[in-house]
Symmetry: C2
Subunit: 336 residues, 2 copies
Amino acid sequence: MAKRIGAGTIRLETPVKIAAAAAVGSRKEKEGPLGPEFDQTIEDSSLGEKSWEKAETKMQQLAVAIALQKAQITPDRVDVLLGGDLLNQCIATAYAARELARPFLGLYGACSTMAESLTLAALLVESGAARNALAVTSSHFCSSERQFRFPLNYGGVRTPTAQHTATAAGAALVAPFGKISIREVCIGRVVDLGVTDPNNMGAAMAPAAWDTLCRFFADTGTAPADYDKIITGDLAQVGSDLLVRLAAGEGCDLRPRYTDCGLMLYDRESQKVDAGASGCGCSAAVMCAHFFPAMQRGEYRNVLFLATGALMSPTACQQGESIPGVAHLLHLTAEG
Amino acid sequence: MAKRIGAGTIRLETPVKIAAAAAVGSRKEKEGPLGPEFDQTIEDSSLGEKSWEKAETKMQQLAVAIALQKAQITPDRVDVLLGGDLLNQCIATAYAARELARPFLGLYGACSTMAESLTLAALLVESGAARNALAVTSSHFCSSERQFRFPLNYGGVRTPTAQHTATAAGAALVAPFGKISIREVCIGRVVDLGVTDPNNMGAAMAPAAWDTLCRFFADTGTAPADYDKIITGDLAQVGSDLLVRLAAGEGCDLRPRYTDCGLMLYDRESQKVDAGASGCGCSAAVMCAHFFPAMQRGEYRNVLFLATGALMSPTACQQGESIPGVAHLLHLTAEG
């Protein structure tokens, strides 16, 4: 049984593990600091497909195939696939799920998707509803630019607060076996402090990250010093700074433990990514390429992973709406 | 604990109930055969908002408020809100979730969303992860036409296979108390038989409905005659006929028990809705306005509800992709 503790944290009392994970990226991710840790990077970001959307589907399929291979299970043993992406109607994932032909639950959590899919995967495995649950997500710089901003050929000028959408996919298999345990999860609330600039997603999402983190600390009676690492998804420089300030304002010093996947994926100076990386694929790839393997090697024992999502659309922004954020959290431990 | 039976059906061994449900519609839904059963219908489909998208959010908020009122619980007792809609980035739901300010899991299942959200709500309540889980979804004719087809003012001609998107929202509270039990759930697989006509969603979705239904019958060793009603979401005339034919082809006669929400919401003759109704709000409203109350009154004791979704986008269709479908199923019983 899952056990509710405090106001909103869910403790998993049956062992639920991350059995295997895989990350796929493109040339830009290969050239970044984590490049060598990716399972596969593809030079041509079209992946030989006729559209960016189809390329994104293919990245998911690759990540899924590698994760299953690492876990040494065949696709027919996946009881449920949980995933989503940033594209309208989440088509990258829907077409990847068509290929896998396993029970599928489509999610929309914007850039929080990896944390959302891992959370639900963990809860379904814990309850016995699934033995193996596969969490997947992706983003693609070119499909995202076309859909959310401008066609690439337009050559739109970017603001310094803008983030570069990762061309990457991550997949993780949640099962009763593996070296990384999912101990607790905390589902995020939608938080909106009124940011209306779609080129400043970090600022829009930081309050949601703090809302979830703060509730989790209160529910569990823990503090940042209790964890080896506290990892956010893609707040990048502007959002990370804001999260640290929000926490400091309530007497909580995150800095000694805190890092953000959006600040790790690229070299901001040489790779010209403005405030950092973003997209569902950012935290999915950084967790699957770097942190999960590092935990499996025992480099980190006790980690909080919380990915944030900006739940807006270009239509909502054009209608003057502000940008709501959400952040889902997982507490992960690795055996000694 | 949830118990897996057969290849993919999940039996809930702890009691999980639908405690309350509410349906909201517009004038067209009011004028349909189920009009008097709606909790609220609003004459002006803008609901006094400045955009169709905002009107859709407001419909969800109304449905949520009425469902909570009926269940006699305050919003702060909702442990998790699960929902989604058809709009790009599911904004109708995201902005409704912002208002409720409770933990939120965004879903994308196209028109299968009510079945997907009820399925996950049931599994989370069953596992103890949530005491009260609220499932919500909506669709709006005007926001859907603008996004998926043509702006209304364009006056595009509709094909006879086209369906009319319901302007409706439904919300249901899943809890340990109530008169309707959720006994089993079966998560759908993505099925695509190659239909490419976005004006014929029924045909695209029917194979997914049969895939799920067929797996459920095999897993549980049951047949259509074991149920009072077998209710699909929004296959409408074309898709329903196809589902009945697909089942007949495998020696299964659905007809005596079968109905489709897309054929019930409107009077097809007088209301000019071509093949019938569609949209996430269609099955959500028909279940919440008609079937759940009828089950609570004891009129149906043993029901299968499966909602289908077409997991495409205009972009995918323009790129020549076919339309994949998915269908999630719930087995519901009412006490005598």
